[in-house]
Every structure is written in C-alpha cells, then in structure tokens.
Symmetry: C2
Amino acid sequence: MKISIGAKTIAHPHPAFIVGSYTKEGKANMMAAAWGGICCSRPPCIAISLRKATLTYHNIMHHKAFTINIPSSKFIKEVDYVGIYSGKNTDKFADTGLTPVKSDLVNAPMVEEFPYSLECKLIKTTDLGLHTQFIGEILDIKADKEILTGGEPDIEKVKPLIYASGTNRAYYTISAKLSDAFSAGKNLKKKTHHK
Amino acid sequence: MKISIGAKTIAHPHPAFIVGSYTKEGKANMMAAAWGGICCSRPPCIAISLRKATLTYHNIMHHKAFTINIPSSKFIKEVDYVGIYSGKNTDKFADTGLTPVKSDLVNAPMVEEFPYSLECKLIKTTDLGLHTQFIGEILDIKADKEILTGGEPDIEKVKPLIYASGTNRAYYTISAKLSDAFSAGKNLKKKTHHK
C-alpha cells in the first residue's frame, strides 16, 4: 500500500549534464543541469530545462547552440563547483582549471577534459513555467578514444556521474553491470507460467 | 584530443522508466522508456518520448494521462520483459505477475510492486521525428513508506535501474554514495588558486 507524498520532481536516476555555451561577448561558460535527457532518435535530439535566471538560458537564446558534456565521476568536485556558482559572477572554466574548446559545428564550447561531448543546434524552446525546455539536435559527438567500445561511449569506461536530487542531494556513479538488456527478461513469461 | 563518432543518442545515465497507461478499452499496459526526464520544477513536469508505433502512444493520446513507475534493480527481469515485448500482442502485467492499480488522480495504472510512481496529466505533445515527446504534469507521487527519507524517495533505498543504450545495452544500478552535492566542490576555487 503506497502513500501520497505530493507532486515532487523525483524520477531516478537524474543526470549530471554540464551544459556549455558562450555569452554574447564570446566568453565560455558551463552550468550543471539535472533536468533533461534524450528525446528523439531520428533526428537525434536531447532536451534540457533551464531557468530564465541562468546565464546559460540567455547564451543559448543568443547563439542557438549548446553542448552537453558528460562528466566522469572523477570530476565530481568540478561538477559540484559548476552547480554551485553562476557564470554571472565568476569564470567557471578558469576556476576549475577545465578547458573550453570551441565546437567546429556549433557556436558553443566543449569541456576538453570530459570523456565525451554532444554538439547541439537549438531547434525548439518551450516555456513550461519556472523552467524553459531547450531541444537541441545532436549534430555530432566528440569523444576520447579511450572510452569507446565498438565506436560508442562505453558506460563502464565513462563512469558517469549520477545526481540524486531531493532528500539525497548527492552524487553516485554506476554499479557493476547487473545484466544485459533484451536478455535478462526474455524467458520471464515461460517461467511465470511454470509457477 | 577527441575524435568525431557521429550523431548518436548517448548521454549517460539513461533511466529505465516504466510508463503505465490504459488502452481505449481500459486494459492496463506498461512499456519501458529510456528517453525522458524531469523537465520543469514549477509546475512539476516530466517528459518522455515515444514512437507512434507503440501501444502506449495511442493510449496516452486517448486518455491524456500516464504514470512513470520507477523500478528497483530487483525488478530487472520484469523491466527487461516489458522492454522486449509489445502490449499489442500480450498482457505484460499478466505475464510478469506485476499488479496494475488505478491512479486516483489520472486515468492510468501504477505498478504496485515498484517503489514509487508519478501520476501525470498530459499537458503537451511535440512531434520531433521518429519520437513524439509527451510532457506530463506530475500531480502526485505514490510511494512505499520503506523507501522514503524525510518524506522523499531515497535513491539508496530505491536502488533504481539505470539503462545504458548503445554499445552496452545493459542494466546497472547506483554505486555507493561518492559525495554530497553543494559540498564536494565548494572550495575548489580556493584550492586551484593555491596551486
């Protein structure tokens, strides 16, 4: 028997995306975003939601471009720093020692030290209330060779950060692999019938 | 130095959401969705993207309602089963032995055995290409008492499934906690300056 706990924005797991953008003047900035995820396979698109109060909101509105940079868990301090402070008041690249590299496809900076980055062209904005959703078409991914398996980012090499909002307010990474997909449950029905 | 790997739909971590809906005739169905995430804090909203080919697409269009059910990792076989088969051909609740319970707020079923469920009223659909994005306002969360800490779902008690698409095609859960947020990186700048 479940109980009502109210309308909360909890749906585990939450990502720890680092969004790269340039100011109008061309200064590189990054922010942490936990509200987002892939939203279309063809064309490949990703959604992130930002408050109007953020510098990144205005940067993306101006340049119609952003990057999504996936941090490895070893960058936990840098990611947390990016989530705490605003680019309005400080240069977060200089502060963290991370390196902005301009995408060759969109007018937005990638985080050189992170294992891979999605280069996104803004195709849609939707004002939802406190947050505005930005949908970007993924034009390319730039990745470190060392984190690839069969040409794609391997989650076990990436060791991505996972953010838990709400009561935890903490960072995690992935466990060891539990099971292959399209495999673990294949014969479940048969087993159920044998009960 | 990074290399180009093409426009792929990879942005770790991906969720393993189980979407609950009713057919026009009122039969409970569930599907697995990895494309989605929270998209607004006020009003609280969540986005999921579905192909028109799915039964759930038409169910949500009809009832303007769905649930997002968060599975614990112990339900890995059930989740995988739900991801493999279509409700067009089989009754996935009967097959897996999971129990549909009608939400008292929206016309959609929750998965009784899962630790918590978001009850969502459809407020927006956007056709993006292969996928259509559904945005639901979260009207309430129904949760098992045992997975709460301070009234909110505790990720360490939920032990959510994490899906890795692409080269891994596998399930994971979270690691032990790495660090508190708004804490780990607080003094990073000072340290950087002391280098």
